[in-house]
């Protein structure tokens, strides 16, 4: 079994530190009005952005799990 520094630590760091950048981005574009949730099209993009983040979390988690247990 590989050590945690090769399995979960990189994943936590990636989506923790990367997540901070992502969150700051979401806050700035919403606060500035560049992403205007009153508009239908922008609500669609808002969902795409959030789902995209979790889509990549899921990809990495899935591959880490199958590497270790399959």
């Amino acid at each position: 079994m590989p050590s945690i520094t090769h399995t979960w630590l990189p994943l936590i760091y990636l989506y923790g530190v990367g997540g901070i950048f992502f969150l700051i981005g979401m806050i700035i574009i919403k606060k500035s009005g560049a992403l205007n949730l009153q508009r239908k099209r922008h609500r669609y993009w808002y969902r795409v952005l959030i789902l995209g983040y979790f889509y990549f979390v899921a990809i990495h988690t899935f591959f880490t799990l199958i590497a270790i247990y399959w």
């Binding site: 050590s3 399995t7 990189p10 994943l11 990367g18 560049a34 795409v48 983040y53 270790i68």
Partner: protein, 706 residues
């Protein structure tokens, strides 16, 4: 197959057969013919560089594949895949964090402000001096990127070539630089006669072929090793993990690569890579650009990760099962070619190699095209303006600029070849690319980022970020064990190539600290400059400050004193540059942020349209076209069609050939004129018909833009 030992790695020559070479030559000729056919759609420098802002998202999304895959090449990811496994391609799946900034910040700004190059943004947002420094840094970045592309191309071609050629009795040894020069000549010829539309369509074709070739190699490799189960079981567990070990080894660790690629590289790729930005600018609207970018990152990059890395994974599996076929000490940068040759039959191997090299050429082509655009916009035009040179007609100006663009493409190609020398000494292309990104992107990344998202960021701060940041980066390179070590996250320093990746974190931090620090010291510096102006000798004093700053910068670059003295010099340098910048630069914070930061995107959109926005959502209409005699810059629809599109005279309209598969190749942007009463008919001027390349009898689809 000839082999010989070089250092500890085994290298190969003369891989492949004459059938493979024939396939490669035919493929290249086909691609060049395909690209030059679309060259006819270049009617001006705007078309040559930007493709006329008319394409559908899917066309751009697929054309980006060849650019992205080419630049993040088969060679380097297969190399790391062979050495470390699936984690070799982790950089393909770490770009999403900055996508909100790009989709709703940078992308609308570059489209709505009609900026034609990144340095132009620096002039509008800050000052001409900021533009000058940004141009220098960006040219270094782009030419370095071209150099990396050439290095990769050379390394891809080398294993296929013999160790020496005999031509007319004279023996020529095959050298990496020799191969790169020949490749550069071929690349230069293609781009010079193509232009952006040609590049987009060539890349579109190559995007599909690359994906096909990559997956073909994967399936051939899997069947060669005996099926998916055997392949999976042959790989050690560490090779199957999607991310590298947190902080070891020095030449491939997660945390270093996260900061180098996930942060500096992602922002650099999305915000600074003019080649990519020009692709997004070629989409018909901001929303189409968003779709292209999101689709590319969500779907195309994960698929590309398999395409580019699989040869290394297959190579590792073969080397575990049959070390006599793929020796474990095979040179990592040659593993792609070695594996492709083993698993593919003659002809198929030629096809795979052709797809790979042609894709790499696409990347280099795109970068050369983009660098030529920077030359025209940020050097050629400003110099002409300065010298007050003006042609009589727009047509003449366009003709001369097209010629200058082609010459600059040739010069940029030559400089790209020279820049290979800086990267040749790295053991693999991957490390060379990592070092390149860590070193060249941070000052521009920080400057662009703070410029777009922080209204308070001033010209003095951006110039100090460039000069002071570069000086501190140079000190970091000279004293990595003192300055970069505190950021190393436990990564051991390799004395030959110290901190190739994690230096990006140090560089980003020092540039950010300087930029933010100078902005917050704004009032104090301004007060000092105001007091200075009251002094009778203020001009001489500022000249003296400038001279001292130049001297200090030279001391730092040449590393003439001890570290503590140089750090003290750095502090003085930062203060002096900030003062001199405040003194010389006229800055209007209101005018120079309106429409140029994320906080005023709506204003940018209004400025783009030139009048109040009409955001009512209408439908698309199909119309037949008729010729109108007047050239008044508008096109005219019926009242009913205008009502369906929710459009008013003066609104912006996009009209294209109704055949979706053309992806907007035959289309124009125009303005709604006064309506008429013939439903289903649009009146278009001869000039617009020519620009749109519309065909008689084929309906057009129109939609309101804004």
């Amino acid at each position: 197959m000839e082999t010989h030992a070089q250092n500890i790695h085994q290298t190969f020559h003369s891989i492949g057969s004459s059938t493979d070479w024939i396939v490669m030559v035919v493929y290249f000729l086909f691609v060049m013919f395909f690209g030059s056919y679309f060259g006819k759609y270049n009617r001006s420098t705007k078309d040559f560089f930007f493709g006329g802002r008319r394409f559908a998202w899917w066309l751009i999304a697929f054309s980006i594949v060849a650019t992205g895959v080419g630049s993040h090449s088969f060679i380097k990811y297969s190399a790391k895949g062979f050495q470390y496994g699936f984690s070799s391609t982790m950089t393909y799946i770490n770009d999403w964090f900055f996508i909100p900034f790009f989709l709703f910040g940078w992308l609308p700004i570059i489209v709505y402000t009609r900026i034609q190059s990144i340095p132009e943004y620096f002039e509008k947002r800050f000052s001409p001096s900021a533009r000058f420094l940004a141009t220098i840094l960006l040219l270094f970045y782009m030419i370095g990127y071209i150099g990396i592309g050439f290095l990769t191309l050379g390394k891809a071609a080398m294993p296929m070539l013999p160790q020496s050629f005999n031509i007319f009795g004279m023996e020529f040894h095959t050298t990496l630089m020799g191969v790169i020069i020949v490749i550069a000549v071929i690349t230069g010829i293609y781009i010079t006669f193509g232009g952006q539309t040609a590049v987009i369509f060539t890349d579109l074709l190559q995007g599909f072929i690359l994906l096909f070739a990559g997956f073909l190699l994967f399936f051939l490799g899997i069947s060669y090793v005996g099926g998916l189960d055997t392949f999976w079981n042959l790989l050690p567990t560490e090779w199957k993990l999607p991310l590298a070990d947190f902080n070891k080894p020095p030449d491939f660790n997660f945390v270093g690569i996260f900061w180098q690629d996930g942060v500096a590289g992602s922002v650099g790729f999305l915000f600074m890579n003019m080649g990519l930005i020009m692709r997004f600018m070629a989409t018909k609207s901001v929303d189409e650009g968003r779709k292209a970018a999101a689709f590319n990152i969500l779907f195309m990059l994960p698929l590309s990760a398999i395409v580019v890395g699989n040869a290394g994974w297959i190579g590792k599996a073969i080397s575990v099962a049959h070390p006599d076929i793929v020796p474990p000490n095979t040179s990592p940068d040659q593993i792609f070619v070695v594996v492709a040759n083993i698993v593919a039959t003659p002809g198929v191997f030629g096809f795979i190699m052709a797809a790979l090299t042609a894709a790499l050429m696409s990347t280099v082509d795109t970068l050369i095209n983009a660098t030529a655009a920077i030359y025209i916009n940020d050097i050629h035009r400003p110099i002409k303006q300065f010298l007050k040179i003006k042609e009589k007609t727009q047509r003449e100006t366009d003709k001369k600029e097209l010629a200058a663009a082609r010459w600059s493409s040739i010069i940029v190609t030559a400089l790209g070849v020279v820049s290979v020398l800086a990267f040749k000494s790295f053991p693999t292309v991957y490390e060379a690319h990592g070092y390149f990104h860590s070193t060249l992107t941070p000052p521009l990344v920080v400057a662009i980022f703070l410029g777009i998202f922080w209204k308070r960021f001033t010209p003095a701060a951006v110039i100090t970020t460039f000069i002071g940041g570069v000086a501190l980066m140079i000190l970091g390179a000279e004293y990595p064990n003192y300055l970069i070590a505190p950021f190393d996250h436990g990564i051991k320093m390799n004395p030959v190539h110290p901190y190739s990746y994690i230096r990006a974190l140090y560089n980003l931090v020092v540039c950010s600290v300087i930029g933010v620090g100078v902005t917050y010291a704004d009032v104090k510096i301004m007060n000092f400059v105001n007091r200075l102006r009251k002094n009778g000798n203020h001009k001489q004093i500022v000249i003296a400050f400038t001279a001292i700053a130049v001297l200090l910068f030279v001391f730092i670059v040449l590393n003439l004193f001890s570290l503590s003295v140089l750090l003290a010099f750095e502090v003085v340098l930062v203060v002096l540059v900030a003062i001199v910048s405040y003194y010389y630069i006229d800055y209007d914070p209101e005018a120079q942020t309106t429409g140029l930061t994320v906080w005023s995107i709506r204003k940018a959109k209004e400025m783009f349209k030139g009048r109040k926005l009409n955001e009512e959502e209408g439908e698309k209409v199909l119309v037949n076209w008729k010729l109108k005699k007047e050239e008044d810059g508008t096109i005219n629809f019926s009242k009913r069609d205008m009502e369906r599109m929710k459009a008013q005279p003066g609104d912006l309209v996009y009209i294209s050939d109704k055949r979706k598969w053309l992806g907007g190749l035959k289309s124009i942007h125009s303005v709604y004129g006064e309506p008429h009463d013939e439903d289903g008919v649009v009146y278009i001027s001869e000039e617009d018909l020519k620009n749109g390349v519309f065909i008689e009898g084929i309906q057009l689809e129109a939609e309101k833009e804004m």
